[in-house]
C-alpha cells in the first residue's frame, strides 16, 4: 500500500481504512499481533487483515463485519486526525484542476496543517513531482513528516518548519504552482512569486473571509500576477430515498357523472391510497461556506527572457 500506488493485498505496516458504515470509518495501522476494537468486536491484524485483499469483508468477534479499504487521499481526508481546520475534497478537487497539477508538477504549499490537501497533491504529482510544504508550527510539521513516512510518500515531499511570510518556501524558481492557506496570504505573495518558475505558474489562495481575499487580490495585482479569479464551490449531497405520497380522498365516486358502481368499489378497496416515489432530497443543512478560492497566473519573468 501507498497513497500513490494501489496494491492488491494488505501488508504489515499498511494504513487501511475500516469501513463500518457510511459515516463511520477509521484508519488503522496494520501491525502483526495487534488488535483493534470496533463496535462489532475485535479485529485481529495478523489473521483478519494481513494477506487479505483490499475491499474484502472482515468478520469481527461479535459476528458483525466491516470492509477494509485501500487508503486514498479522499478517504484520508474524512478520517485523518485533525490538528487544524482542514480542506475538504470539493475544494481540493477544484484547487487541483485550477492549479493544473499533474504528474511531475512541483508544488509549494503553506501551511501544511493536518495534511489533508498535501496527500491529494502528492497523489496527483507522483511519481515525478515534488511538494515543498511549509508549516510554522513545529509540532505539526513534525507530525506531518511522520505521516508522510508512514504513508510511503516521504520521497515526494519536503516539509520545512518556518514562517512562510518571513522566510518564504525555501526554494527559488522551481515551482509550477503555489497554494496558500494562511491567515495573511498577502504577506506571502512575494515569496510565492519567487518560488514559481521564471516562465510562470499558477497560484491559489484559500481564505474564509472576503477582507482577506480583497487584500490578497491587491497584493497579486501589485506583484504583476494576471488572470486573477475568485470563486467558491459548494457541494450538495443528495439523500436518495423512496417516499410515499398519500392520495387525498374525494369521497365515493358514485356522485361523479360517469363513474359506475363497480369502479368505485375497486377504488375504495384495491387502488392504492398512496403513490411511491423514488427521489433524492437535498440535505436539510449543508456546509454553506468553506472559503473563497483565489486563483491567479504568474506571467513569465521579463528579466530572464
Amino acid at each position: 500500500m501507498s497513497f500513490v500506488e494501489y496494491s492488491e493485498l494488505i501488508q504489515e505496516g499498511d494504513v487501511v481504512i475500516i469501513f463500518m458504515g457510511h459515516d463511520s470509518m477509521m484508519p488503522i495501522k496494520v501491525q502483526s499481533g495487534a488488535q483493534t476494537q470496533t463496535r462489532y468486536g475485535v479485529i485481529r491484524h495478523s489473521s483478519d487483515l494481513i494477506g487479505q485483499r483490499f475491499g474484502s469483508k472482515v468478520t469481527c468477534s461479535k459476528g458483525g463485519w466491516v470492509y477494509v479499504l485501500h487508503p486514498t487521499p479522499e478517504l484520508w481526508t474524512i478520517n485523518l486526525p485533525h490538528r487544524t481546520q482542514i480542506l475538504y475534497t470539493t475544494d481540493i478537487a477544484n484547487i487541483t484542476l485550477m492549479l493544473e497539477l499533474k504528474p511531475g508538477s512541483v508544488v509549494c504549499e503553506s501551511g501544511t496543517g493536518s495534511g489533508s490537501l498535501s496527500h491529494s497533491i502528492l497523489r496527483t504529482i507522483a511519481p515525478t513531482g515534488h511538494l515543498h510544504t511549509v508549516e510554522f508550527h513545529s509540532q505539526r510539521a513534525e507530525k506531518a513528516m511522520q505521516e508522510f513516512k508512514e504513508h510511503k510518500v516521504s520521497h515526494l515531499v519536503t516539509v520545512r518548519n518556518q514562517d512562510v511570510c518571513k522566510d518564504g518556501f525555501g526554494i527559488t524558481g522551481v515551482a509550477d504552482a503555489v497554494f496558500l492557506d494562511i491567515p495573511s496570504p498577502w504577506e506571502a505573495i512575494s515569496h510565492a512569486k519567487k518560488a514559481l518558475k521564471y516562465k510562470g505558474g499558477r497560484l491559489c489562495s484559500f481564505s474564509p473571509c472576503i477582507e482577506q481575499v480583497q487584500r490578497t487580490c491587491e497584493a497579486l495585482l501589485d506583484h504583476g500576477f494576471e488572470e486573477i479569479c475568485t470563486l467558491e464551490v459548494l457541494l450538495r449531497v443528495h439523500d436518495v430515498r423512496t417516499v410515499t405520497l398519500p392520495l387525498p380522498d374525494f369521497g365515493p365516486e358514485e356522485y361523479y357523472a360517469d363513474s359506475t358502481q363497480t369502479t368505485s368499489d375497486i377504488s375504495q378497496e384495491d387502488v392504492n391510497t398512496s403513490v411511491i416515489c423514488r427521489t433524492a432530497t437535498p440535505p436539510r443543512e449543508m456546509a454553506g461556506h468553506t472559503g473563497y478560492l483565489t486563483f491567479s497566473s504568474k506571467p513569465r519573468d521579463q528579466r530572464c527572457e
Binding site: 493485498l9 469501513f19 475491499g55 470539493t90 504528474p103 496527483t124 507522483a126 450538495r236 433524492a280
Partner: protein, 464 residues
C-alpha cells in the same frame, strides 16, 4: 539566476503541429498550428505562422493581412488614466449624443490602422459625459471599450483547466453540460493518478478522456470504451500529449462487453470471417463486372490495373484489420483481469446499464464515478447498485460554482451557476463475495449464490 538557465525554454516555444489554446479576454479556442492556415477567432481572422518560435504565454495583436505581431508586455499604469471624475450620475442625461464620433468615424479610424488602444482613447476624448462619470463608471467604460477594440490574443499551452472552461463556454452541448468544477470532482473522486488502470466511457468529445490522461501523466493505462464505430477523441487530441501517452491508451467497443464478460470474446475468428466475407463479396462483384466488359486489350489492361489496386487495397485493409485486432486483443486482455483501478463514466447514454456492465471490470476497494446531466437516472443507478451490492460509500452530489468580482469597494458575486453543472454518483467497490476468511480469493462463486450473498450484504449494509 541559475534557475533561469536550467529551465529549458525549448519546450515552451510554439512549433508547427502544436495544439494551442488561443485566449482573448475570457474566450478560448483550441487550434492546431499549421503552415499558412487561416484561423477565425472572435470575428477576426489571422495566420498563426508568426507565432511559431515564440514562447507560450506570448500576447499578440492582429495587424493588417491577418498576421500576428508580438505585443511587448506593458504592465501597470497602462495609460488611459483620467484624473477628473464625477461623484454620482445625477446630472448625466442619456440623450444618445454623448459620443461625438459617429460609427463612420470609428470605421475610418480602424481603416487607418489605428491601434485598439488609440481608438479607445479617441472614444474617451470624444465622450462629453466621460469626465462626469464616477471613477468606477469610467473604469467600466474603458474596460468595455477595450474589450471591443483591443484584440490581443494570447497563445497558451493546453491544459484540462483551459479546455474544460473552453468547452463549457463554447460548446456545452458537446460535453453533456459537464461544468469544469464537476469535472474536477470526477478526477479527484476517481482517485485518478499515475500508474493506475482506468476505464473511461465518455461522449464528451474526448475531454474527459484527455483530462484523465493528463492526470496519469503517461503512466499506467486507460481503456476507453466506445459506442458505435469508433471512439471520439477530438478533445483529447487538443491536449497535444506526447506520443508515449498514446501508448497507454487502449480502446474497446461497448458492443463487445457482454462477450468479454462471458469470457467468449474470440477476436481472431470473427474478424477474419468478416474480412473474408467482404473479400468474397468484392470478388463476386468484380466478376459480375468483368462479364459485362468486352475483351478489348486496353480494357483488359485497365482491368488488370484495377485488380492490382484492389489487391493492394485489400492488403492494406488486412494490415489495418490485423492492427485493429491486436489493439482489441490488448484492451480485452486488460479488461479480462477485472482488476481496473477506477471507472469514469460521462455520457449521453443512460448511465445505469453502462455502470452495471462496466463496474464488473473494477477491482474491489476502488472508486468509481458516474456523471449525468440529469439527476433521475443516477437515482436509478443508486437503487440498482444498492440492490446488487458490491459497492459502498454511494453518494449522489452536485456542486454550485460562484465567481466573484473582487475590486476595491466593488466586491460582489458575479454569477450564480446552479444546477447546470450536472450530477455525480460516486462510490467505492468492495468484494461482494463471502464474509472474510482465511482464503482470500474466493470470488468465483456461482452466480446465483453470489447474488444471494450480495443481497444479504446490501441489506446488512443499510442496517449498519
Amino acid at each position: 539566476m541559475a534557475e533561469c538557465v536550467n529551465d529549458s525554454d525549448e519546450e515552451s516555444r510554439i512549433a508547427y503541429g502544436d495544439y494551442v489554446v488561443l485566449k482573448r479576454g475570457e474566450v478560448f479556442k483550441s487550434v492546431q498550428v499549421e503552415n499558412k492556415k487561416k484561423v477565425i477567432f472572435e470575428k477576426q481572422w489571422f495566420f498563426m505562422d508568426n507565432a511559431v518560435g515564440q514562447l507560450y504565454g506570448t500576447m499578440f495583436e492582429i495587424v493588417a493581412g491577418g498576421s500576428l505581431k508580438h505585443k511587448p508586455v506593458k504592465r501597470a499604469g497602462d495609460s488611459l488614466d483620467s484624473k477628473e471624475a464625477g461623484q454620482d450620475n445625477r446630472h448625466i442625461v442619456d440623450d444618445g449624443r454623448s459620443q461625438k464620433l459617429t460609427r463612420d468615424d470609428i470605421e475610418t479610424l480602424k481603416e487607418q490602422g489605428l491601434k485598439g488602444q488609440e481608438i479607445v482613447q479617441q472614444l474617451i476624448d470624444n465622450s462629453t459625459t466621460f469626465k462626469d462619470k464616477t471613477e468606477f463608471a469610467q473604469e467600466k467604460y474603458i474596460k468595455k471599450k477595450k474589450k471591443k477594440y483591443e484584440s490581443d490574443i494570447t497563445v497558451l499551452k493546453p491544459s484540462t483547466r483551459l479546455l474544460a472552461m473552453m468547452y463549457h463556454g463554447r460548446e456545452p452541448g458537446k460535453i453533456c453540460h459537464l461544468r469544469y468544477d464537476t469535472l474536477a470532482q470526477m478526477l479527484t473522486l476517481g482517485n485518478i493518478h499515475a500508474g493506475s488502470k482506468i476505464i473511461v466511457f465518455e461522449t464528451c468529445a474526448g475531454l474527459v478522456l484527455g483530462s484523465v490522461m493528463e492526470r496519469m501523466g503517461g503512466f499506467g493505462s486507460v481503456i476507453q470504451m466506445f459506442p458505435g464505430g469508433g471512439p471520439t477523441r477530438a478533445g483529447m487530441e487538443s491536449f497535444g500529449f506526447p506520443s508515449h501517452f498514446h501508448q497507454t491508451l487502449h480502446e474497446f467497443p461497448l458492443c463487445k462487453v457482454n462477450a468479454v464478460l462471458a469470457g467468449k470474446l474470440d477476436l481472431s475468428e470473427k474478424d477474419t470471417e468478416n474480412s473474408r466475407s467482404e473479400e468474397t463479396a468484392a470478388e463476386k462483384n468484380s466478376e459480375a463486372q468483368s462479364m459485362e466488359i468486352s475483351l478489348d486489350p486496353q480494357e483488359q489492361m485497365r482491368r488488370d490495373e484495377r485488380d492490382r489496386l484492389r489487391e493492394q487495397r485489400a492488403q492494406e485493409k488486412k494490415v489495418k484489420m490485423e492492427e485493429k485486432r491486436k489493439k482489441l486483443a490488448s484492451a480485452a486482455a486488460l479488461l479480462q483481469d477485472r482488476n481496473a483501478d477506477g471507472l469514469v463514466i460521462a455520457s449521453r447514454f443512460h448511465p445505469c446499464p453502462v455502470l452495471m456492465g462496466l463496474i464488473k471490470f473494477v477491482a474491489p476497494s476502488r472508486p468509481f464515478v458516474v456523471y449525468c446531466q440529469y439527476r433521475e437516472p443516477l437515482i436509478e443507478c443508486y437503487n440498482k447498485l444498492r440492490e446488487q451490492g458490491g459497492v459502498i460509500n454511494l453518494r449522489l452530489t452536485d456542486s454550485w460554482l460562484r465567481h466573484y468580482q473582487v475590486l476595491p469597494n466593488r466586491t460582489h458575486p458575479v454569477l450564480l451557476m446552479s444546477g447546470g453543472g450536472g450530477y455525480l454518483l460516486s462510490g467505492t467497490t468492495v468484494d461482494a463475495g463471502t464474509a472474510k476468511t482465511k482464503n482470500p480469493h474466493k470470488s468465483e462463486e456461482p452466480d446465483a449464490k453470489r447474488l444471494k450473498l450480495e443481497e444479504k450484504a446490501s441489506s446488512c449494509d443499510s442496517s449498519v
